[in-house]
Symmetry: D2
Subunit: 352 residues, 4 copies
Amino acid sequence: MVIVMAPDATPAHIEHLVDLVTAAGGEAYVTRGVSRTIIGLVGDVRQFETLDLRAMPGVSDVLRISAPYKLVSRENHDSRSVVNVRGVPIGGEHMTLIAGPCAVETPDQTLEAALMAKAAGAALLRGGAYKPRTSPYAFQGLGEAGLKILADVRDQTGLPIVTEVVDAGDVELVASYADMLQIGTRNMQNFALLQAAGDAGKPVLLKRGMSATIEEWLMAAEYIAQRGNLDIVLCERGIRTFEKATRNTLDIAAVPVAQNLSHLPVIVDPSHSGGKRDLVLPLSRAAIGVGADGVIVDVHPTPETALCDGPQALVGDDIQELADAVSSMSKLLGRTLATAPEPERAAQTVGV
Amino acid sequence: MVIVMAPDATPAHIEHLVDLVTAAGGEAYVTRGVSRTIIGLVGDVRQFETLDLRAMPGVSDVLRISAPYKLVSRENHDSRSVVNVRGVPIGGEHMTLIAGPCAVETPDQTLEAALMAKAAGAALLRGGAYKPRTSPYAFQGLGEAGLKILADVRDQTGLPIVTEVVDAGDVELVASYADMLQIGTRNMQNFALLQAAGDAGKPVLLKRGMSATIEEWLMAAEYIAQRGNLDIVLCERGIRTFEKATRNTLDIAAVPVAQNLSHLPVIVDPSHSGGKRDLVLPLSRAAIGVGADGVIVDVHPTPETALCDGPQALVGDDIQELADAVSSMSKLLGRTLATAPEPERAAQTVGV
Amino acid sequence: MVIVMAPDATPAHIEHLVDLVTAAGGEAYVTRGVSRTIIGLVGDVRQFETLDLRAMPGVSDVLRISAPYKLVSRENHDSRSVVNVRGVPIGGEHMTLIAGPCAVETPDQTLEAALMAKAAGAALLRGGAYKPRTSPYAFQGLGEAGLKILADVRDQTGLPIVTEVVDAGDVELVASYADMLQIGTRNMQNFALLQAAGDAGKPVLLKRGMSATIEEWLMAAEYIAQRGNLDIVLCERGIRTFEKATRNTLDIAAVPVAQNLSHLPVIVDPSHSGGKRDLVLPLSRAAIGVGADGVIVDVHPTPETALCDGPQALVGDDIQELADAVSSMSKLLGRTLATAPEPERAAQTVGV
Amino acid sequence: MVIVMAPDATPAHIEHLVDLVTAAGGEAYVTRGVSRTIIGLVGDVRQFETLDLRAMPGVSDVLRISAPYKLVSRENHDSRSVVNVRGVPIGGEHMTLIAGPCAVETPDQTLEAALMAKAAGAALLRGGAYKPRTSPYAFQGLGEAGLKILADVRDQTGLPIVTEVVDAGDVELVASYADMLQIGTRNMQNFALLQAAGDAGKPVLLKRGMSATIEEWLMAAEYIAQRGNLDIVLCERGIRTFEKATRNTLDIAAVPVAQNLSHLPVIVDPSHSGGKRDLVLPLSRAAIGVGADGVIVDVHPTPETALCDGPQALVGDDIQELADAVSSMSKLLGRTLATAPEPERAAQTVGV
């Protein structure tokens, strides 16, 4: 850290700061300039965090140098992590496609969507049983009944399931069904939920908060990691900006930036960022081009009747195009498409 | 609602929509223009929400007219609400000052801060026992021990207490001590928490999410109201923008806009928006000038040792200036300063 | 400035930087920490700007300490400036109200608006003859004919005139009529225009760019000042954010922040930030409360026929309320209302 | 357009509006709902723009349906445009790489950068002779001397030149040297400049304003088109958001959105959006993946001495990687790489 003193700081102010830092176990180096003095601090940044140096007399600014996150940082972890979701890898040299309906509505709709996902080359099935909705009058999800549908569809298709949890009190229940817990954009700083997810023993898909900086996103991941769970996948899903032509503004550069700062895999959600079906394919290609470790998309057999986010779900005709794009671009960029394990119970037996 | 058809929409598309709306119990009126057709829908907007009209063939856009919130809307509630917090009014012709430490640290620090708050003219004491922090390595609050300190300070000073709750699972406990539950900016769309707060039987102070639109803020209030709790106070605390000279950008216009859309009282937090001590007083005057129903500020006896947000806490010398500003401007603008009830146990007896 | 070296920087990298800085006439102080080395630079920041230190091998970050603007900075200019516009002061202990129509349309409309402005307590008349419009199909202003109308109305009412200039090529012409040149939000970084305005020998009203940081705003002022013109008034008029309930988000805290960084007066435009008539009065009170040196508002005798921004113009009934608010709040906050000089030709003679 | 009436609008209000619209040559269709009345307007939107319907008594909101731009809209122009820059195509099935130094500094530096650009597969040379800089103390470009250098390098390399113009007064001079005029992000709403560029008889590269909506960007293009110049290429270069990890936030989705709304080609500038060398290649791949018609990048032979934006310029080793990515991805996505014409004078003759 570096303390920048105000032009009118006195020698006593400076001495006081040096004492304070020394007492906290750090070292302080003073540089006196023409108009200002700066003090360089050597030691662990956490030592100094409780000092509130900014409030000290004579201090103009305090600049932090090291990253405030440790466990998810790439600084002490050179190789990129691979997260294993019931046998499906995310990260490393893999390209992992996750697909499924925004919300679980019925067994048939979920199974059909899962088969569409599989046809598109997906290795994991997404689907929400607990839906955080802006309006209390909107569909809020099926709850545990939805989790049971997902588990059943996993048995039939072999696709491990990724599903959202919205309250710390539900984590144990959701983790008993899910293969990966999703934490949504509105809950990125629901710290009780992050900690509960860290304790649950399942990999976590952490969506970026819609107005979170990349640093705050990594700090949220640090909350999970601090509980001993490093199986975290980051998901860029668009941020809130002044532009309203798209639902959110996909921050495509966040992918290489986060990969550079952290060893965790980073995937992209083109459906929620674009908010429109015809943007999903171009944004998926952009994601693969930029180097994302995976893509997560909405698919729905009949989006016109979907209870949630129908306008952005891919339909029948789009699937083959997505499959082709994912497969050809992954190959071009030297990535291997992750595949799903064999189903425990064949989907055909249910007549789909 | 108004459906805007695409230029190439067919008569069959239009007929299909009219049937759909009629089947949902609404009425549809078709206007055929030179290049486009529009369909006006008459009925309750909630009838149409499940239809996903935007995904229908031939539809270009769907425009909503009525507000999506009902219970907190001013449309059916002409007079402005007054919320009563253990005898202290917020709203109507009152001006209510809420003050206290960002975090409860010790009994002495809390009592001293409460006496500072009272000297500034505050009628309510704020103080956090549960602190949502960006870093898992930062001070997270004292929990129930902090609540006990607050209750004790209330007995000594007479100031009813406003304190934050961050997890649905903690609401019952927090509500057993607090006079008003605060929901923080990061939890504005933690819907489980909103619902639990709606069930708790205590007034709620709902801070605006740092990237929430005013409409989303009112929808969050609607979640609480839907549980039968209309004792809600809205708090503008700054939004996230590109400007980094202040911690957040205080959206001062949100106060009259929200007051115009909703009957709920609206107060302002100048401490968290400005993030710097010397901005608190000017922003407080701006808040009173714009017509806010109250102001909530951080005070701390020794901000240089504060475990949270010390740089923005008012200190001894600022208090009289704040008291003067609040008192003189309230008078000028025709508002009555709310006052605290008498303490059950005198603060003097504890030797402060 | 402070150079933060990368963890893997070599002694040769550091030596190279020290040499570079020394060769540029500065001094470099090296502090070696546990994981990183930092180098403090002493000297004028402009010496180092051409070095592109950030691109040097081994460099992780370069942090600037001193402000990059000099002439408009408060660092070397303790007292706050007062700008004199044909006898009307802005800044210091004054409160200056500027009012008038968004666009000059006809002599009658302009004169009526000027008399409304005067009735509201305005000391300066605003009015646009050159209008920058988003659409090429919208009214673009009367040009020189509009300037002549303004000059004529100045003769009749005594109100000095503030009018916008949008192209460097027009500055000489506009300055031959105007008492103060306005540079609008879209042109805040039209550097040729800033320089021409700096050369024109008239005070300049510099609106903040709708997405400019406060630092960029002050740098734009520095462009004008560098031409030897320090008669600059800054105008906060709202910034672009995600919130669409208002036309722009009035950054009310920018007023004290800019006053703290610069000696220039800072005023507020509540009309363009709010975009709605009923927000003008509350936002004007907020501006005076926060400590602005003035307020600039749109007035129009018949806003329903206005060719530009009618919805935000104050009308007859609002004027008295504005006059009362400006007068009573200025008094409360210890400011003297600036007044206009006597007219050279009485308005009554034209029968208004 | 659709007028939404306020709940308390009277029949007289509605009648007044119908008369107004009819008088303006349009048709009005009234739909009376339970709580509100809406009026659909049929006719050209420009007829109604001068009416200021929003300010009329009884009006709650006015919603626009048709796009406000005409000439650049795709509505009446089904095929996508190809812009020809001295023989080099942009748009259609082509992929066009534009490269060069941010600023022209010396003949040698410009020629070397041009040869790097050519090696990377570029068909056009970019380079600035007029530089809009935030600080008046920063390098402002060589002016006409820089244009002469560019013209000379064009002769030697065959690469047509794209160069920025920052003031309407300079357009004629710049157009006498340049093959394509660039209008920068800060000047996107410098309307005098847009009109002058529209009159200059050269293709225009229009960068998106850093806080411009896609609609405003297309309206700026409409200003150029209105002067009869439809040879316009749009360039997405990142927008200003709360995220500071990158210089700007590349709005990658703006490419397909703008291509959908307009027939003009859309290219991407990954250098200015990312602001860092190591982001240029991933963002270029994202741009090609999303379907951009071209990419414009900074290259510099010795970025550590660059007078402008050195940290984002590609250097020797990056060039081959960029050439490979552009070539292989273009092929995969069915685009043909545009190539430069033969030089009039061989570069070899000058000994490079």
